[in-house]
């Protein structure tokens, strides 16, 4: 999509009656942001607890598979909530995010974080002990965790910076 058509899409979306409601009813945007932050809290905290287990720093009395079973639902289930509330925030102020390089960066980082979570999760489906079978696999699991933590940190920072960076 050319920048011009993106711009006209943003203008069109902002002019829709639905977007107008989101813009004019004052409590909607902060309420949606509150739900968005609560969902982020669930995802990031669960990801951190799983990562700390992969690194062997916390929760070692529970196997990696059991820890994953406990926390993965809290990583994936808030995702639809995040997408829905995120879509509402975009609708309320389309150009603020869609034309914002930091928003694009955040979406890219989100895809990477989702991918790295799957990289941890998928092998566990075939073999619950997968990450604990050899020293080499433990090392790979630690690398996954070590990559996951900075990704989530960057996603949160990018999320906050959307408010401060002007669209192109």
């Amino acid at each position: 999509m050319t920048l011009q058509s993106l711009d006209s899409f943003c203008n069109w979306l902002a002019a829709t009656p639905f977007s107008q409601v989101l813009q004019t009813v004052g409590w909607i945007v902060p309420a949606v942001q509150t739900v968005h932050i609560l969902a982020v809290a669930a995802v990031v905290s669960s990801a951190l607890m799983l990562d700390l287990r992969l690194l062997g720093i916390r929760g070692k009395e529970q196997s990696i598979a059991a820890t994953a079973r406990r926390f993965l639902p809290f990583i994936w289930w808030p995702l639809p909530v995040l997408l829905a509330t995120g879509a509402l925030l975009i609708t309320a102020e389309p150009a603020r995010s869609l034309e914002n390089p930091v928003f694009i960066l955040k979406m890219g980082l989100l895809l990477a974080a989702a991918g790295i979570t799957l990289a941890c999760q998928v092998p566990l489906h075939k073999d619950a002990a997968f990450w604990e079978l050899s020293a080499a696999r433990k090392r790979v699991a630690q690398l996954i965790a070590a990559a996951s933590i900075p990704l989530w940190v960057a996603i949160i920072c990018a999320g906050r910076w959307i408010a401060y960076v002007q669209g192109t």
């Binding site: 809290a41 905290s45 700390l52 916390r58 406990r70 906050r160 910076w161």
Partner: protein
């Protein structure tokens, strides 16, 4: 007296630097958001275990022990960054209704936690089966969840009732 304190805080060189800097405020905000999501997420893990909605195959004591260092580290970080953000515009935040309620709610969450640890968690070592925890533990967990959700909401509303980017 309070007015002088707020003004004095706002006039400190660090508060001035945050207020007038190009990007100091947003970066401190990033750390604040990161820290508060970890505070709420990790407390939520304990609360959901107390209420009986998650981690039921794991003991309450175990669940709490593995999470609490994360909670406290993140809380200290959130308090420091929150203090810095507050200082940068102390006279404005100090008079903001939502900020005042948020601080009161954090204090209440602290009281709720203290009451639980001092008076209500006797026998918690035995709560390691999927069986429901006693009603007093479920109430404490539910109250804590409600308080922290409200704390996030009031925190977000601060940004919409004073003059900064939202």
């Amino acid at each position: 007296m309070l007015e002088q304190f707020l003004q004095g805080l706002q006039d400190t060189s660090i508060a001035t630097a945050i207020r007038e800097g190009e990007s100091l405020f947003p970066w401190i905000e990033c750390v604040h958001v990161l820290a508060l999501t970890l505070v709420i997420g990790s407390i939520g893990i304990v609360d959901l275990r107390l209420v009986g909605l998650a981690s039921r195959d794991r003991g309450v004591a175990q669940t709490t022990a593995s999470v609490l260092p994360v909670t406290w580290t993140a809380f200290v970080l959130a308090a420091i960054t929150g203090g810095l953000l507050f200082a940068s515009n102390a006279t404005t935040y100090g008079h903001n209704f939502y900020f005042q309620v948020k601080m009161a709610l954090i204090a209440l969450a602290g009281v709720n936690m203290a009451v639980y640890h001092l008076f209500l968690n006797s026998g918690a070592d035995a709560w390691h089966t999927p069986a429901a925890t006693p009603i007093r533990a479920r109430i404490v967990g539910g109250v804590s969840l409600c308080l922290w959700i409200a704390i996030v909401a009031f925190g977000r509303w601060i940004g919409f009732t004073i003059n900064t980017p939202t």
